[in-house]
Structure formats: C-alpha cells, structure tokens
Symmetry: D3
Subunit: 278 residues, 6 copies
C-alpha cells in the first residue's frame, strides 16, 4: 500500500515553486505551449522503481489537463531503457513538471534500490533490514515507503510512536530498570519499548526489565552472538553501527532479528531517469 499522496502536497509545492519561483519557464516562451504532446519517462539505469505513485498527484497539482499512463509499478525491477510512464497534455505543462517528477523518482528509486541490495545480502536468513530516523528532512514518510518497496521494513516513524531508551535517558533516572518502569506506567498500551544497549551487561539489564526489543549498538559480532543465545527468542534483537553491504550477512547469521541501516536513507545514490517525446 502506498502512502496517501496528498500528504506530500507541501513538498511537491516546494519543488514546483523552486523551479518556477515567481516567474515562468522562460525557455518555453516561444514554444507552442498549448500543443498537446506526449512524453515518456524512461529508466537509464537498472534498479528498483519507487515513487511512481506520486506522478498522478504531481500532475493534478500542476495542470488537471495533464494525462498519464503508468506502465511499471513501484517495486518492480527496472532495466536501462524501460518506459515507466507516459505523460500527455499541453507542452508547457509537461516541461514544467518534468524535473519535479524525475527528481522524486530518482531519489526514491535510489533508496529502494540500495535497500534491495542489503536485503539481497541477508537472503535466506530470518533477519530483516530496517531504516532509521536518519532521513532527509521532509522526506521521512517517502523514504520509509521506498525502504518497504525495496524489501526492507520500517523502524519507528518518529519520537511519537515508540519508546527508544538510550543511556542518556536512563542516566537521568538512575537505572535502566527504573527508567523502563516509570515510562511504562505513563505509556498507553499501544506503544512498544526498545532499549539501546552498548554492552552485554546493558543487554542483560534490558532483558530483565522485560522490554519489547533491544538495540545492540556497535557491539562485536561475538557479543551479539552471546546476546542472541542468552535471549533465546525472548525479545526482538536489533543490530546497528558500522554495518555495510560487505559485513551485513555476518550480522544476519549471528541471529539478530533486525538490522538497521542509516545509509539506505541518508546516502542512497540517485537512479537515473529521463523524459523523451514519444
């Protein structure tokens, strides 16, 4: 399921505004701007498509006279040269939405494609690849959607939908156990509690506090294996910190349930797309 596109109205409006400012598409001044034309969006690289669900919404925000056909859906594999979607309508309007559409597609498909590479590395393990809150400002819901499109799963969306207790949280309270107890007494039943552990000792303290999940942060593979073994399936175990395409499978094989990767949202290279008349 895709997010509701109207949620991104503000971001789309910003994108259109920065391409137009308060003026015009000066390069189109002499074109026959009302002439009905048809263009195709083509992939120029292999990867996973994400973001095409936004195209109809972007078009309708700019000019209701623009039509489209979506030929490849989000989540499908792209080969160089695939026709993703066609856009037809007044020439000036097509040229006006071109860059906004391509920029959204490039970025989101980049996130999905990098996620898919991490997911492929942990194939045939029970481990899931998940995202973080290290997202581009304004893009969190879109990037988290692209992560799912690429085969990953979503961690919490923000500060509001899950508790994640780090050491600078519990230091203020005195002990991890006390922090968990106090926070649980104030939370509604809809919210889960995860605790960040930097050592086996902290992990054991978290286990005793009966939290829902423990994040093993920057721990050695050996320590992680010990934690997995001591945990014996009691709570969800998450690994993070210094995990790359090269070593991610080692962490999966160590037995954690989820591995969180900031890189898939903050550093995914764009996928290349182009618009050509058809």
């Amino acid at each position: 399921m895709t997010p509701h596109p109207a949620q991104f109205n503000e971001l789309i409006r910003l994108a259109i505004q920065e391409d137009l400012a308060t003026g015009y598409d000066l390069s189109s001044l002499v074109l026959p701007h009302d002439q009905i034309s048809k263009f195709g969006i083509f992939s120029r690289q292999n990867g996973i498509l994400a973001g095409v669900f936004l195209i109809p919404h972007i078009l309708s925000m700019v000019d209701p006279k623009l039509n489209y056909e979506i030929l490849i859906k989000d989540g499908q594999n792209l080969k160089h040269g695939n026709l993703i979607a066609s856009i037809s309508g007044p020439l000036a309007s097509v040229l006006l939405v071109e860059r906004t559409c391509l920029n959204f597609l490039s970025h989101l498909s980049g996130v999905a494609s990098l996620t898919a590479q991490f997911v492929a590395q942990v194939e045939n393990t029970k481990t899931r690849i998940v995202d973080t809150r290290k997202t581009l400002p304004g893009f969190r819901a879109l990037q988290k959607y692209a992560v799912r499109v690429g085969g990953g799963f979503n961690h919490r969306f923000g500060l509001h939908d899950m508790v994640l207790i780090k050491d600078n949280h519990w230091l203020y309270i005195g002990s991890l156990k006390k922090a968990v107890e106090e926070i649980r007494s104030m939370l509604g039943h809809a919210v889960k509690i995860e605790v960040e552990a930097d050592s086996l000792d902290q992990f054991r303290e978290a286990l005793e506090a009966r939290v829902d999940a423990v994040l093993l942060d920057n721990m050695s593979l050996n320590d992680i294996r010990t934690a997995v073994s001591e945990n014996a399936g009691t709570v969800i175990l998450e690994a993070s910190g210094g995990i790359t395409l090269e070593n991610v499978r080692d962490y999966a094989l160590a037995g954690v349930d989820i591995i969180s990767i900031g890189k898939i949202t903050h550093s995914a290279p764009a996928l290349d797309f182009g618009l050509d008349e058809i």
Copy 2:
C-alpha cells in the same frame, strides 16, 4: 553569504512534524524535561561543514529558550571529533531538535564535501564546477548553497532565471537560430540564453546565434577540444554528461569554462555527526 534562513521554515516545520507527528517524544516522558542541559554537535567524519547557519533558526522555531554557540562555520574543514556547536536549554527541547539538526547538517555537509572533491580535481585550471537542477525536491536553494560552500558555483536556480534551449525546444520552432531570435525578442535584458549542443554542428549553429553560453552535452573530449578552440573565448562553454571524479580533470584541461555535475546534489553521501552531552 548564507541564504535567508526563514526561507526554509516550511522544510524545517515538515522535519519537526515528522519526528513529532501529533504526539510527544515518548522516550522523554520520564526525563526531567525542564532541566537545563548542554550538548555538543560533533563531527564523526572528515569533510566540509555546511548547514550550521540553519541551527539558530531551527532552535528558535522549536523553543526560544534554547541557546547555542557556533564554533565552526560553514565552509571550514572538519576532522573527526570536532565540536561544531553547543546547544543548551531544557533537556526535552534539546532531544526534540537533535535529529532535525543532525539530518540537515549531514546532508548539506555531504553535498559540500563531494563538491569540494570535484573542485580539488580541477585545481589550477580556470574551470568551475557547477550544479544542475537535479536536486532533491524542496532542497534546491539549500543544496545550491552547499555547492558554493564546497567551492562550486551555481547554475540557474530554476526555469525562471535563465533560458536553456534544448533540442526538443527548437524542433518546435524550426531551427536553433530562429528559436534564439524569437525568444530574445520576448525576453527582458536581465536574462541570459544558453543552448544545449549535442554535436559540433549544433555548437557552431549556437555560436552563430550569438547566445551567452553553450552546453556541450555528452560530447567526446576531442569534440570538446575542437569547440574550445573554435570558440576562442566568445561564449561560455559548459560540459556535462558522464563526468566523474576520475575524468573531470580531463574535461577541465580540455578548456571548458564550467563543468556541471548532477551527482553533487542528487547522490552525495551524508557526513556523520552526533550529539553528546558536554
């Protein structure tokens, strides 16, 4: 000069909203949230700093009781472990702005740092590295600022501030020369005209049309050298297409005035920063 930070209110508001949604920072429920604390933003990688100019504005939007000190300015070199800025104020407010501040810094410093790598490659040539319109939706002005911070220069900001005539523009008019003439007759004197050329023939046609600049798109180094020589300084020459850190110096040595690189804005990996109590 930095852009006016109030221009980014909407993007900052989106960032805060996606971290808070309509709720709270659940993990801070049990903290002594009004306790005055002091935290530092530290670099965890080498690179060029960009985006620190936004910090005071983000803080003031979230909680006017937050204070700060900026220790390193945009454009300076970072070493792993540098203290960039300190933030002090009510604990809950500091934790609330943490991720938004870090996410802006990480991304913009990533753009500046990658730009600086390209700029370093063309050192001691007259060639400038410039950006494109392949930017993240909503981030154009910020990314273009980061490009300047990294030593690059800005191409046009949008469709409204320069004419860039591509082949699908002039095909509608008949000839490049006619397209240029017609568009010039409608343009104010404040606007420059650049033409995209895919071949030496198109380049020569553009020269004759007396435009301000020619974009040599995806042309071979040999053709580019010919164009430079025939041009003899008449118009500004720009190269683009398939240019990487490895081959960028070859293009610079071929004598073009500017080289435009989409990658510095659409695919710059983030720089790592962290927040620690001090």
Copy 3:
C-alpha cells in the same frame, strides 16, 4: 510532559482569525489600547485544569509585549474562584486574546474533568481509562493530552501508530488468523496489533492469533468475565461500548485492563472560566 505548543499554531491562528476576521476589535476602538493593564483568568467551576500550558504560546503569537504568570498548572484541582494565571500588557491585546484563551481552557479542562470522574470510579482497580479516535477534528493531540491530565491513558493516536483489526477488515481476507498473519508479515517491529472481538468465539480466535491486545466490543459483563478468565493475563483486554459513569466500575471489576470511553473527548461539557481586571 506537555505536547510541543508550536504544533497547535494552525488551530490557534484559526481561533484568532475567526475572532478578528480581516478587521479589528471594533469594541476597543475608543479604549486607550496601548495602556498597560493586568487581568486574571479565574475559574468559575470546580474541576481539573488543562490547557494552561498553551497560554504563553497564544500570547506570544498575538503580541510579544504580553506578559503572564501561571499560578496553577495543568492537572491541579480547581475551586470556583481560583486565579489561574495573570496576563498583562497593552489593553487591546489582552482583550483580543481573551476569548481564544478562555475557549481553549474551557474545553480542555472539560475533557480532563470528565476523564477524572471516570478515573475516580475505577479507583483501586488495575483498570485504566483510555480515550478513542472519536475526537474533535483538529483537537486530537490536545484532547488526548487533556485525558492524560485527567488521569486517563491514551489509546492509539491515529491509523498510523497501531493496528486495530475490525471484522470488516478480516472479512476481506478470509479469517482473523490469516489477517493477523499477513499484516504481521508486513509490519515493522515497532507496531502493536489489537483485534476487535464481538463475541467470545472471536476473542478466542484472536488469542490464538497471538495478538497484543483484544478489544471486547459491546460484550456482556458475563462474557467479559469469561474472557478475562480464559485470557489469564496473556494479552491486554480492552472493554468498550455503552460504558457510563454509572456502570464503569462493574467493567473494571470484571477485570479488563483498559476501558475506552468516547464520551470523554466528544461530549465533555466545558468548564467555565472568566477574565477580570486585577
């Protein structure tokens, strides 16, 4: 902890705008509008105070020259005649914010006070009173805050932070168990799953599906007691439907963990406050 007041900027702006439209406070035309005056907000009814945390923010949005002192905090008991807060500044600005401040206080304190009445009824049981999504459009986070101020707890905030499977959900999938399994395979680890059961059979099916919580909707007290006994603490049990101040204690004594009450947000009568010069 209070929500972040800047989240309510839009609602506050609407409130001020509807009192001013595009004009003035006509009744203040002849007043010495710049004269510094001091007014107090007084309670005119007994109850629980909620919403006073918004006052500083409302004042700062209307006129930074307005000052205040908060004398009673959210969550405290009010007697008729208590001085809640003082506001001082230019007379015209005080009169302009008067109704907006009082209207927020009246409504939110009404919600907190009604919640507190329900909470008092279940005293010395382990049962918690929780809210629903039957909130006033635009007021959800504020009303849910007022519920907490009144001693209640929060259910999910929206469609995005917890799964609540109702029968029209699983009918599309075939069986409850299948629906739960499918949805779990797509959810991140941060999200809990609750199922609505209308009968003991559905409750048992939900238990088998190993969900986090079961909502016993409109079930008889007898059936609820059976469910509590069969559940034996395995999942969280919630009761809802036709629960009033008169019968809420019976449901609590039947042993459910939480009781959700729409009335505390959609039908709470306002508490009366007034502004007088002091």
Copy 4:
C-alpha cells in the same frame, strides 16, 4: 444556505493529518485497498442532522475517486438507524475518511440538536435562541451554522462585526454614554452597537445612549420584566447568564427578543453515527 466548504480546508486537513500523521492506515495494509466498496453513514441516535454538507468536500480532498449520495439533508430530523449518506470508492480511501466524516457529523449534529431543544422550549414566543463567542477554537463558523440548522440565530461572529460594550470598556472612558458617542463617531454605518447592562440603571443609561441592542446580563427575571416594559420595543433586548433548558421559557415569557446560550456551542454532547458496508 450552507457556508462555503472550502473555508474549512485547514480544519479538514488537520483532521486527516492527525489520523494519518506521516504514515499509513496500518490496519488496511493487507486489505484489497483498491477494491470498490460501498458504505453507508447511519445515525445511531435521534436528533437533528448538521454537517452533511461537508461530506462531499472532505471526500474530494482525500480522494477524487470517492463518490457519494446524500440522502438526508442538514436540518432534517434523524431517527436511530437512518441512512444519511452512502460513500463508495476504493476501500482504503473510504476507511481513511470514515473517522473524519463521523467526527464532524457527530459534533455538528450535537450542536444542532441541543439548539433545537432550546428552540422547542420557547415555541410560540417571539424570542429567538442565539449563540455566543464561546465556541471551540477553529469551529466558530461551523458551530454557528449548526445553531442555525437547529433553529437558532447567530449573534456576532467575532470582535470585528458588531460592537459589544462591556463595563470594562466604558470604565476606561468615563461613562457609558461617552463611550457610545465616541465609538459611534469612529464606526462605519454598517456596524451595530450593543451594550451589556448588569442592572436596571445601566440598562436605562444604555437606552438613553440610543444603542441598537442591550444585553441584560445575569439580571433577575423581575428586573428583566421591568426592562422589557420600560423599553417598549425601542431597542433589541437580549438576556444571558445562567439560562438552562429548564428556565429558558421563563426568560422568553418575560419578553426579551433574544436569549444567548453558550452551552449550545461549548457543551453540546455528540450525536452518534456509524459507518457500515452496504
């Protein structure tokens, strides 16, 4: 006549946003979300319908593919079980708008229904029931519309469309008469002047000042009868303060033209509605 629905875009947007935050309807993840379904909005209580005029606008803001049929119009009597409107379209979109639609209907019909009860009490008198500015922030125009739907009339909409002089206004000027004269000399001819009187003396002073209306605030029934008799139809007389369903008819029989009731907007209990597949 209904208000223009686009005026409420911001409130509707807030309502949808708080149900979705930046995520999805998680419970709908496994549904066949594009499947065309048809649901009905049913009343679950007797009362007066208000707010159905918003439904088409809410649907169009969320998903233009949603269709509807309105079967009962605002102002009509509802019996438990009436089908108010049908909504058809993609399943996921229907579930997404459900709570927003029901929450608006419940609240506004609650206001109309309580108003209608007051109006019924003063049947066959010349007295009108009117609202006040004690409305929910952001809901003033909607609540005032619901008051009219319930048979009541509207007092001023805000500080900008009528003068209402209270004692803390004229104290600054010296005398009521002087205050009225000064304000009249500054007002355009489109604006009426009402004065609040707490005693017969103040009422007489207001009469002499030749205002358009006098608000008899918290005065005894006896004093009100005296005022009505002395007024002899000269100005409009309004009663307010401590008026309930039980005693409202006494005030009407005392002969005032209008009775203003804060309760109909700030404390109206919601009317219950539900959405079921049909």
Copy 5:
C-alpha cells in the same frame, strides 16, 4: 487603532518571497553583510502617512536583529524629505526588507492621501467619505485601514458583515419588500440591511421596507435631493456612481450621509518614499 499586524503575515511573506525567490540578494554578495548599518525611510512627496505600523512587524519577520525607531505615525501629514523611521541592523537584512517596506508604505499612503483629498472636499458638511469592496485582492483590510487614516470611514468589509440588496437579488424573490422581509427573518440581530436603489421609486419602496440604509446608485443630483428630503433622516442615505474630486462636494451638499468612492482603493497613485543611509 491599527489592525493586528500578524493578520498580514501571508501578504508580507509573499512580498519577501517574490523579492528573494529561492535564492539570495545577489547584489549583496560582496557587501560586509553582517556590518551594523543605519538607514532612514524618507518621504519624497507631500501626503498622509499610512502603513508605518507594519514596519516593526515586517522587520521582525525577516530578522529579529533589526531595530527601528518610528518618528512619524500613521495619519500625520508628510512633507517631502521627512524622516519617517530609522532602521538599523545587519546591512544585508536592511537591504532585504527595503523594497517590501517601501512598497507597503507607498501604496497605503497613496490610499490615505487620496482619501484625504476627498474628505477635504466635503469639509464642513455632515457627509462622510466611505470605501467600497473594489479593493486589491489581499489588501482589503489594509486599504480600509488606510481609508480611515485618511479621514474616511469604512463600508462593509465583505459579503459577511452586512446585507446589501441589489436588484438582481430581489428580482429572484419577486419584490424588494418581500426580499427584505425574508432576509430579515433569517438574519441575526447583529446585521444591518442596506438596499441599492436606482430610482426614486425604488428608494421609496426601500423606505417602506424599513431598511437601515439606502444606496442611491447613479442617481441625478436632483433625484438625490428629493430622496434626502423625503427621507427626512429616517434611514442612512449613501450616494455612489461617477463621483469625482470635482463633483463630490455637490453630492455632499445634496445632503446624503455617506458617499462611497471605489477610486480611493482601486486607483490611488503611490506616494514616493526612499531609503538612505544615515
């Protein structure tokens, strides 16, 4: 009394945005932008000042480090060369607000000055000059304020705060009298009714319908004198249509209470102001 400046945030934001778009003040790139400078706003024409009340608000929206001193207040006479206000602060911020401040001042002072010329023409009569709804989109409240500053009065602000029945209104109902009766039965007591009359017959019909005011539209001076005489002070009489600085006194001497002039808002020439370093 001035309007509340925060009401104009959107218009001010638009003004700043159109001067900056998504970029910078390019001309200031090489200036010492943080250098504290002091500039004065000077009048370059005689007239009436209006709009200076907005300056502090504009400055605070752009840069809280900008300071100001207001030396001449709205409503005062200006001579060429007067120092209106001083602005000091970072050079780049001063240059950035310059044009926005001057453009507001120029337009609003133009409106006030033209109004004052009309007001001067009707000196020593009882007639008031009032505005219309023929205002610049987005500027209504500001222009109506400038009209008051220039000595004029305000007609209704919009469609919502007074009834003005024109012939195409009553044609739908059957007769003017019936239209007035029906509308009165639906209106709250806060609203006045004015009727537009194109002939003496229509004027007499309106008088019988006991409205609050009659607008004598495009009627001859003779007919207007007859209407004034027949009216004998019963209702407010307004004249409009083809009234200029040259003939306005004739209409005033004919005895109408108010004369409405579209020109003072839709066609007032700007007053010239400049910013110079001091």
Copy 6:
C-alpha cells in the same frame, strides 16, 4: 505565455477569504442559491485586457460546478461594453466570485493599459519600456505579466535573478570596479550584472568594468545622449527617474535601450468592469 495560475493560490485565497471572512454571503441568504444562472463580465472602459487567464482558476478554487467561456483574451483591446467572459453555475457561487474576479481584472488591465500608453509613446524607436521592483506586495509576478501584456518588458524579478549595483553597494567595497570584480568572482555564469550610474563619470567607470548593463539614473537628457554616444552599443543602457508619458519619447530618442517606469505598476488606475446577468 501566461504564468502558472496555481502560483497565485495564496493571493486568490486571501481575496475570497476577505470577502467571506468566516461567514456567508448574507445578501444571498434568501436567493435560490442552487439555481443555475449565467452572467457576463463586461468592460466599462476602453483599454487592454489583462488577467482573464486567472478566471478559470479562481472559479475552480471556489466551486468546481462553475463553468465559463472566455471570449476575449489577455492582450486584446477593449471597448466599453465588450463581453469578456461568461460565467454560469449556481447563483450563490457566481455572486461569491464576482468581486474577486472583477478586482483582479480591474487592476491588471489597469497596469496593461498604462503600460501600453507608454509603449505607444516610444513607437518606432528601438527603446523598450520595462518595469521595476516598485510593485504591490504579493502582486509582482502578476503585475510583471500585465506589463508584458501591455507591450512592455520585464526587468529583474527580484534580488535573486540579476545583480544591480548601486552606490551604497560599492561604497562599502571601495570602488565600482573592485565591487564588480569581486561580485563576478562569486556569481554563477547565469547571472547578469547591471550598475547604477548617477553621472557620466560613474557611467564611464561602469563601462570599464565591463558590466552587462548600466542604469543612467536621474541623468539629464544631454548626459544621456553623451553616454549613448560613448557607449556605442557596448552595453545595454537603461534610463530611469522622473520619466512621464509626456517626456518618455525624448528619452527614447536619446537612444537608450530601455526605460524603466515604476508608475506602471505602483500607480496604474484600475479599468472598470461589471458583472451582469445574461
């Protein structure tokens, strides 16, 4: 080419809001508001039409059931009595958009018509009439469009798309030449540089600095002729300051390339339009 109408959503929303505030069109309460009616927009003066391109967009923002036909396009000559466009749909919606549509048309056609008068004065010279940044806040893009419709050309749109160096710029740097050099070293290749000269000496200094254009500000016709002669076509020459309909041809004949006139945007009298049932 017209600007993209969605750019003006905010201004249109402000215009509708100020006519409606949070209420209704009270005068339409008793009309058969859903009755389908047809009205025409007629010119009541001769001039040049501008702004009709906004009509479809305004209608769609208010009520999608409104239809229209555009009979005269922007840029055409109007005679008194011409039918510009027809609007049909629900009566209440037509009356609601009437004033907003007419106010936009009146102002923009006023700008186009005054521009056309200046353009007519310089007929058969090579000189162009251009606008300035002395525009109404929020109207810059619309007014600059109207200038083009009237036969004029656009100067820069804001501070962001061209450099215009005035004396208070270069005084900070030391010399004009140094200021130009420094700024050029920081500017991208897309931006032109113009310099304001108050004397022949400054003009000559600017010529030496090899800028793109020189603004001869408030210089005598004699000095301007000297500058034109010395310039010999090297840079674009602009004249401004004290130029009126009466003397504009003298400046054109003196040989400048462009003449900028603030009056065409800040002081254009409105053109009169009306709406009548047809």
